[in-house]
Assembly symmetry: D2
Homo-oligomer: 337 residues x 4
Amino acid sequence: MIIVMKQDATEQQIQVVVNRLESIDCEAHISVGRFHTVIGAVGDRQQILQLPLEALAGVDRAVPVMLPFKLVSRDFQDENTVIEIRGVRIGDGSFTPVAGPCAVESRDILFQTAEAVKKAGATVLRGDAFKPRTSPFSFQGLKEKGLILLAEAREEFDMPFVAEVLDPRDVDLVASYADMLRIGTRNMSNFALLTEVGRSDTPVMLKRGFTATLEEWLNAAEYIYKEGNQDILMVERGIRTFETASRNTLDITAVPLLKELSHLPVLIDPSHSSGKRQLVAPLSRAAVAVGADGLMIDVHPTPETALVDGAQAILPEEFAAVMQSVRDIAKALRIPL
Amino acid sequence: MIIVMKQDATEQQIQVVVNRLESIDCEAHISVGRFHTVIGAVGDRQQILQLPLEALAGVDRAVPVMLPFKLVSRDFQDENTVIEIRGVRIGDGSFTPVAGPCAVESRDILFQTAEAVKKAGATVLRGDAFKPRTSPFSFQGLKEKGLILLAEAREEFDMPFVAEVLDPRDVDLVASYADMLRIGTRNMSNFALLTEVGRSDTPVMLKRGFTATLEEWLNAAEYIYKEGNQDILMVERGIRTFETASRNTLDITAVPLLKELSHLPVLIDPSHSSGKRQLVAPLSRAAVAVGADGLMIDVHPTPETALVDGAQAILPEEFAAVMQSVRDIAKALRIPL
Amino acid sequence: MIIVMKQDATEQQIQVVVNRLESIDCEAHISVGRFHTVIGAVGDRQQILQLPLEALAGVDRAVPVMLPFKLVSRDFQDENTVIEIRGVRIGDGSFTPVAGPCAVESRDILFQTAEAVKKAGATVLRGDAFKPRTSPFSFQGLKEKGLILLAEAREEFDMPFVAEVLDPRDVDLVASYADMLRIGTRNMSNFALLTEVGRSDTPVMLKRGFTATLEEWLNAAEYIYKEGNQDILMVERGIRTFETASRNTLDITAVPLLKELSHLPVLIDPSHSSGKRQLVAPLSRAAVAVGADGLMIDVHPTPETALVDGAQAILPEEFAAVMQSVRDIAKALRIPL
Amino acid sequence: MIIVMKQDATEQQIQVVVNRLESIDCEAHISVGRFHTVIGAVGDRQQILQLPLEALAGVDRAVPVMLPFKLVSRDFQDENTVIEIRGVRIGDGSFTPVAGPCAVESRDILFQTAEAVKKAGATVLRGDAFKPRTSPFSFQGLKEKGLILLAEAREEFDMPFVAEVLDPRDVDLVASYADMLRIGTRNMSNFALLTEVGRSDTPVMLKRGFTATLEEWLNAAEYIYKEGNQDILMVERGIRTFETASRNTLDITAVPLLKELSHLPVLIDPSHSSGKRQLVAPLSRAAVAVGADGLMIDVHPTPETALVDGAQAILPEEFAAVMQSVRDIAKALRIPL
């Protein structure tokens, strides 16, 4: 931590800062500039971060030198985390396509979709039984009945599945069916829920909050990791910006940045980020080219009757075409798929 | 709902949209422009909102005419909602100052602060026993012990208190002590938690998500209201923007907009929005002038030792000065305080 | 400037940074932490800012300690800048209401408005002869004919006026009529125009870019000041955020922040920031309460026929009511008006 | 245009709206809903957009059905615009790499860079003689001397070049040397400058304002096109968001959206969008995969001595590696390069 003192800070104010740092066994390096005195604090990161340094008289601001997360950082673990669910390995340098309907609506639609995406090359099935909805009057999911259907589809088509969990009280229930728990974008800072999935031994897919910085997203992963669950799959799904031509703005730059900062694997979700089906194909091609570990795509056989997010779902045949160009790029870049 | 068809939409595509609307007993009014056909859908709002109209072929976009929330809207209830906790009325045209430490740290600090803010004119005490923290390594609150201290301070100084709840499993516990439950900014879209506090009969303070639109904030209130709890107090606390000179950007415009759209009372929190103690006084003056129903301010006798957010807490004597100028403005505008 | 080295930076890389700093006569203070080495650079601010330090091998990031602007800063000049145009003093602790039509459309409307706002208490007239419009097909202003009308209104009602200038080639023309030149929000980073008005001896009103940080806004003022023109009046007019319920989000916090950082006076423009006439009154009350040096308000006798921004203009009688409550608050706070 | 009336709008207010529309020869289609009356206006787009409909009593809001720009829209011209400069064709389905130093600093550095990027496959040279700088104290470019050097490099390496123009008074000067004029991100809404380059017969590269919506960007292109200059090359270069891990957020989704809405070609600039050299390679791969017409990349032989933006410039050998993977992807997708 670097503490920049105000131009008119007194000797005594500087000394108070030094004393506070020394009281937690930090070294304080003082550097006197023409206008500002700057104090470098060397010591235990977590302890320094707890100090309310900006509340001390004479302090202009405190600038962190180190990142606030540790366990999920590349500095803590250099080699990539590889997650394995039912034989599918994610993060090992290969490319993982996850696909399926946004929500589980019926056995028929689920099975029809699962069969098609499997055939086109998807290796993990998505589908939700619990849906977070902005309006309390919208369809909220089939709940346990949906999980049962997903488990049946898994057996039928030999694909592990990922499903969202919304409530800390439902973690055990969802984990008893799903191969991977998903934390949705609106729950990325739901610390009670993060803590609970961190105690589970089922891998977790952590979607980026659509209003969260990369640092906050990694902090959320740290919550899970700290509780013991190290199998965390990050998903970039667009952020809220001033632009309204697409639902959100896919932050594709986050992929190489995350790989630099962390050892966790990262997918791109072009469906929820764009909200428009015609954008799924070009964004999927960009995803494999930029170096993501995979994709998650909404597929639905009849989007015009979908109960959730129909405007962004692509048809099974469109998914097959997306997979073809993704495969072409992967091959050109020597990425196993 | 207005459905704008694409320029090249066919007659048949238009007919499909009309049929879908009629299938849910909506009327469809067709208006043929020079380039676009536009369809006005008249019928049950909630049903229309469920239709995936943008997924239909030939549809360019669907533009909602009505707001998505209903129960919390001014159209549903014209007169202002007034909340009463232990004799303190909020939203009746008077101005309510809420103040106290950000977190409960010890009996001593809590009581010292409560005594001072009461004396300066605050009528409701704030103080948290459960703290949501970005980092899992930060101080997380005294939990039930903190609630007990708050209840003691309530008796001692005769002030009702508001305290945050983070987990749906803790709602009953917090409600058994507190006069008002608080949903924090990071939990505004935690639908499991909103539903749970909606089932409580303790009033709820709903802070705006710092990344939420006004419409999403009112939708969150709708979640609570729909479950039966109609005593909802909204708190504007700044939004995330590109500006980093203050922690967040206080959206003061939201106050008159909210009062136009909704019957719920609204406070301003200048402490969390700005993150800097020297900004609390001017923003508090603006809050009463703009027409808010009150203020919520962090006060701490020794901010430089605070465990949470010390940089934004003001001293008891600074709070007294803020109250003086707020009182002057209230008097000039004939607002009871 | 503080240079944070990467965790794996070598001794040689650190030495290269030190050498670069010493080559421009800077002192380099090295502080070795547990993980990172940090180098404090002490020397001439402008020279250090020119160094591409982040391009050097081993450098993680360079954190500026000092603000990038100097001449407009409070450190450079402690007392407030006071601007005087035709006897009206702005920034001397009094409150200055600026009002008038958004654009000059006709002699009749201009004079009718000027008379009304003068009577209600405005001391400076606004009205534009050159309008920047997003669409090239929109009304672009009456040009010199508009300036002539404004000059006539000035004589008739004894009020100085401010008018926008869009093109460096028009600065002399506008300055030959107007008492104050305005740089509009879309031109805040038009450095050719800033330089040109900086060479004029007519005072300049510098609106904040609706996408500019406070620091960028002050940098733009520095451009003008550096050329010799020290009479700069800043106007906060809302910033672009994700919220669409109002046209822009009034950043009211910018007012006390700007007064802390700079000696320049600052107004609030509630009309352009909100884009809605019913918001002008509450935001005007907030403006005087927060400590702004004045207000700038769009007034039009028949907004429904206005050629520009009719939805935000208030009627002359509404302006009189706004002035009444602004005056009440000013009186309560002992601000001359 | 669709006009949504307020719930309590009177018959008379509705009639006033209808009358206004009919006064400009528009048809008004009235649709009476359960709560709101909606009026569809059919007629000349530009005339309707000029009406201050939201200023009329009883109007809730006016929703445009059509896009505000016309000439640059896909509806106006279905086939892609192809720009040709000295035999290089941009927008014809091939991929165009533009590269060079950010600013022209010296003959030596410029020639060294030009030779290297040409050899690696770039077909257009970039390099600026006029630089817009946030601080008035930063290096502002070599001006005409820089243009002369660029013209010499063009002859030596047989590559057309693009250079920025900042001031309407310099358009003729820059156009007398350059093969393409560039409008920088801070000048995207400088309407005086747009108009001036629109009158030139030299093609224009229009960078997206880093705070501009797609619609505003296309409106800026419309300004140029309307004056007669139809050779406009759009460049996506990242937008300002709350994320600070990269300098800006590359809005890669804008590429397919722009191609849907407009016939103009579009490049991606990974250097200015990210501000970090290690991000240039992955973002360049994404650019070709997503369907951009080309790339613009900052290259510098010694970034650590660059006078402008050294942190984002890549070395000539790094550029050659980027080109190799871009070529691999282009080949896999059958894009000529």
